[in-house]
Every structure is written in C-alpha cells, then in structure tokens.
Symmetry: C2
Subunit: 350 residues, 2 copies
Amino acid sequence: MGIVRRKISLARLDHSLMTAPRHDVLCIGNAIVDVIARAEEDFLAAESLIKGSMMLVDTDRAEYLYSKMGAAIESSGGSAGNTAAGIGSFGGKVAYFGKVAADHLGKIFSHDIRAVGVDFATAPLEGGAPTARCMIVVTPDGERTMSTYLGACVALSPADIDADVVAGAAITYMEGYLWDPPAAKEAFRQAAKIAHGAGRKVAITLSDSFCVDRYRDEFLELMRSGQVDIVFANETELHALYQTADFDTAIAALRADVGIGFVTLGSKGAMVVAGDETVEVPVRPVERVVDTTGAGDLFAAGALFGLARGLDYETCCELGGLAAGEIISHVGARPDVKLIDLARERGFEI
Amino acid sequence: MGIVRRKISLARLDHSLMTAPRHDVLCIGNAIVDVIARAEEDFLAAESLIKGSMMLVDTDRAEYLYSKMGAAIESSGGSAGNTAAGIGSFGGKVAYFGKVAADHLGKIFSHDIRAVGVDFATAPLEGGAPTARCMIVVTPDGERTMSTYLGACVALSPADIDADVVAGAAITYMEGYLWDPPAAKEAFRQAAKIAHGAGRKVAITLSDSFCVDRYRDEFLELMRSGQVDIVFANETELHALYQTADFDTAIAALRADVGIGFVTLGSKGAMVVAGDETVEVPVRPVERVVDTTGAGDLFAAGALFGLARGLDYETCCELGGLAAGEIISHVGARPDVKLIDLARERGFEI
C-alpha cells in the first residue's frame, strides 16, 4: 500500500507561469571536504570547541586541530553540497554552485557530487587558497562539532552565478553559511534576483545558531523584503533568529516573515508554517544515532525534492525525515544508499 | 569472568635471548589511501574487475576507474598499515615503514597512522609519483574489489629500512604485496636479515591469491630458507601457494614449510599449525557484514599483538577474530572503536 496524498498544484510554486524547470533545485554553498574523527567528550573542552557548533578557523588553527584529532576519514560535505547530493539520490534534477581549488581535495569534491548526478560546473580556483575542509569531531552520543577552514570558498563571487542555470531551476536554495565568505553574499543576492525574475522560488537555511547570531539582521531583511520565499531552521536557530525562548512567539514571527517555514524539531519531527497552514509531522525513530552530521542538510534535501515535485507539506517533511534518518545512522553526511530506493521501500510513490 | 589462559613463555619467541623489544611489532607495507565506493554487482563485469581481488592499475586506468566510480570516502589503508593501526588500537607498541609522497594524501596517511599511536618516520617521496591510492568498490554482499595505483610506493627501498627499529621489534611483519614494487622486496629481505640477526621473528602475509600466483616461488623460498618464521594466509591463498584443491595437503605443506602458520577460514574461524600443534578456533558471528576490506589485515593485528605479548595461539586467533569482526561491520579498514576496549568488554584480560 503506497503512501499517496493530494499533490500541491504546481501553480502553488508558480510553475504554471514559467517554462518547465530544467532542474528541480539549484543549491549554492561552501564547497567543503569533511575530515571526520571520533573523540571523547573531554576533547571538546581541551580544545575549546563548542559542542554542536560550527566555528570558522584560520590555517594555523586548522593545522593545530588536525594534529590533535584522531584518525579520520575524508568525505565530501558542505551543507548545500550535502543537500544537492541528497536530492540527486532521490532522483531529482539538481545543480550546484560552489568554489573548490584546483587541488586534490577539490577533485574529490567534484567527483563525489557529480557521481550522484548533480550538475556542478563552477570553475575551480587556480593558484589561490586550497579547497575548504571542515574538521568534524563526533562524540560518543553522535553529536558533531565542526571547525571550518573556508579556503577557496572565499573566492565564490557573482561571476560564478550562471544566470541560465538559476532561471531554469524551480527552487534556488542557499545556505546561511554563505554569509561568511565576503563575496558570496553578493552572489546569493544576485541569484535570488535572477530566480525571482524568472518566476522561480528562493529558499535559505539558517545553517546554525552562531551563524544566525552573526547575520541576524541580514537574514531577517532577506525574509521581510521577499528575497527568500522558503526558510529552513531548527529550533535553536529559530530561537536565535527571533531572540526569544518562547517557541510559539518564534513560530508566529516566522509565519509572518516568510511564505513557507520548515522547522526541524530533532527527534520530535518537523513542522511547516505557511500562511494560515500549520503541519506537524512526527519522525520515524532511528535505531542508533551514529553521527548527526548532515541531518539538517538531508532534511532539506527531502523537503525540497518534495516541494519541487509539487508534493504536500506532510510528504515533504516525511521525505526529509527519511533522508535525515538515513544520514545519522552512519558516519558522513552523504547518503550511503539511494534515497529513492529507500523511499519506495517505505511506500512512497515517487 | 575474564578469559585467562596459559601464556606462551616469552622464550618461545626467543625473547629471553635479547634485550626487551622497543616495539611489539614493526609493520612494513605499501602506504596507501583507500577510495571506497559502493557499487552494484554489474559494475564489476562492466569494468572488467575480478570480484574480491586486488589488481594493480596505472595512472590512466586509475583515472578512468575513478571517473566511473560512485561518490566515495577516503580512508587511510594499505594492508600492513591497517595491521599497524589495529595493533596500535589494541594498545600495542608498533612501528610502520611505508612510502608516501609529500602531497595531501600522504599527509592524510601520515596523520591517521600516527593518530593511533604508530611510530611512522619513513621519509616521504619528494618530486616523484603521488601517494598511492586503492580504489575499492564494495558490492551489496560486503565483498570488496580493489584496484591499486602504487604511486610513491615504488620508491620504497633498502635505504628506508631503519635497522635500529627492526632490531628493536619483537616481530617484523611484512605484506606479500611488497613484491609488486621493484625495490621493496630488497627492503623486505634486508629487514628480515636484520631482525633475525637481532634474535627477532619475521612474519609475512601472502596478501591475496593473485599475489601468490605472481610470486609463488619466491614466497616458498622465503619460507623454506627460514627468512620468515610466521605466515598468514586465507584458504584461497593457501590453495594458490601449494597449487592444490585439497585443504589437508596444503595444510601439511604449510606445517612443513614454516614455524607458525595462521590460516583464516572466513566465517568458519581460523586455524594455527605450528610444528606438531594444531589449533582451531571458531569465529563469533557478525551481525551484518558491511565491507570486508581489511578483514585479513585486522586478523593479523590481533594475532600479532597476542604473539608479541606471549599469549597462546587460541587467544591470538580470538583477538584476531575480534578485530576482523569489528572491521567488517563498517565501511573502511581502520577500527572505528578502540580494540583494547572491545577486547576487555569481551572479557580478555589484556
């Protein structure tokens, strides 16, 4: 018995006004290779790391932390890169913009994202900083703590925004982390303008609560000015955005500020607020949480894939939960299995 | 209730004749970074790969195969490198000789092996071939099929054999794969000579049946001339070595040719033949075989650690089985947990 629900009319995303999209989703983000190691809780305190956060580090700090970390594996990452890989794994048509260097890690990143069917053609940086890496320590509870060296990502600029690709994507999705490298936010604004000019939608993830603290006013301005139509946030980010400890207050503010808000609630599931509508969806429990890296990114993958295909909010959240559940059951932030196969096994007719 | 058995007298390994060893084990091998991706069975046929084997590839073939492989993770590997990491994870004192290049993958390899406590000081190759990589495709049954580009490994030579380290290790362990790069076999012979001159023991793994086919006569000569004292083999390699389909015939030949033979029998366990002694040890079943990469390497880690610590053959095999069981339950050939903790949880008093 398949799960079949009403489909949201494509017109809801204004698809009727445009030519058929070439891509379901275009993702734009910092192109990063993850360096993942296990560590005990006391490692975080000893190295002044804030559990669950993403902190930016310079070259020296990156070298120092790597020297202190245990044996690691390398796996392509980057928040929006993980989302793009997830959408590809669902069988979605997806493109990615992000800046790697012309070095070995850049080659790894490019290979891995193309290997799951993502169209990735951003020119690599020649002769500048190396490809970005994110040192991730995973504590025994599965929580991940990240230290990111941005490297070549700081070179992402409006010149890297291919207007045809933006105009041809049903949804352009960008990570809040793009506010960290200086020129990327201009690339972001430009992409949003092109997308809206072509009658498409623009989505953003708030990325993490520290990122929200750094760019709160700008994120709110993006939402209130209509530059973004869809926001992804977890509870902590939502509370940080509206500087309130009261969930209902934050949700009401989100509802007022953006067309569609997806809020992930960890093991409690997810929630959508969209105009007068409110949808709450529980999450299927995961047997063992191994590594939470990429949980939010993969939730967004499922939800965006669903949205682009005109599925209702409940199904979007369920696909997001399915993808997030897969990613936290193993080390690394890219799916180990084809998400479309997993979804079909679970009865989704996609 | 701990598992305590008779200990083999240290004299059995002639420890009484020498100064106390600085290292339990010195491992020598091809220093390789693994590039691991999942693939369906038909990928093997389409790319002319022989399931379960290790084939050597040149630069062009390596580039081609990588372009065809799915999204991958990178993890330090190399047969003897995995064994060294396993011994380190058991809390053993262990050193490693192997040749990386002065490049990013070389840095990854060096970091990962040192991070688990292995002493690794072989000078990296400057301005030559890049660090070796092994492209591993893992099929749904968990079997791994490997294509190795040897790169900098071909530069390992007798000049890299630090005689003090060899003379200070209770056991010097080398992989049969060292016969592939041209100068490494001379390094191997030199190390064996130094080890025996210092009253130490020399061990070798036959590596894989294709490797045995390439170097059968030389491997037999090493054993029969007494250059190696301890041999590790699986059933397939043993049959290849003696070119017989009859297990008992092969076992009898092994018993005649070498002091101690460890034979792994997959899910049936392991067997030791040593002079008149024969020990058979069943294996604790593994819940789910995810990726068999490194199973033999980690069996050797447990067994060598046990031997160097003077434990009896049965315990050596059990420690080997424990380490192999851990490694096949996840992707990658380096332990995900501390093997000494796992061993103690299972009641071993080590």
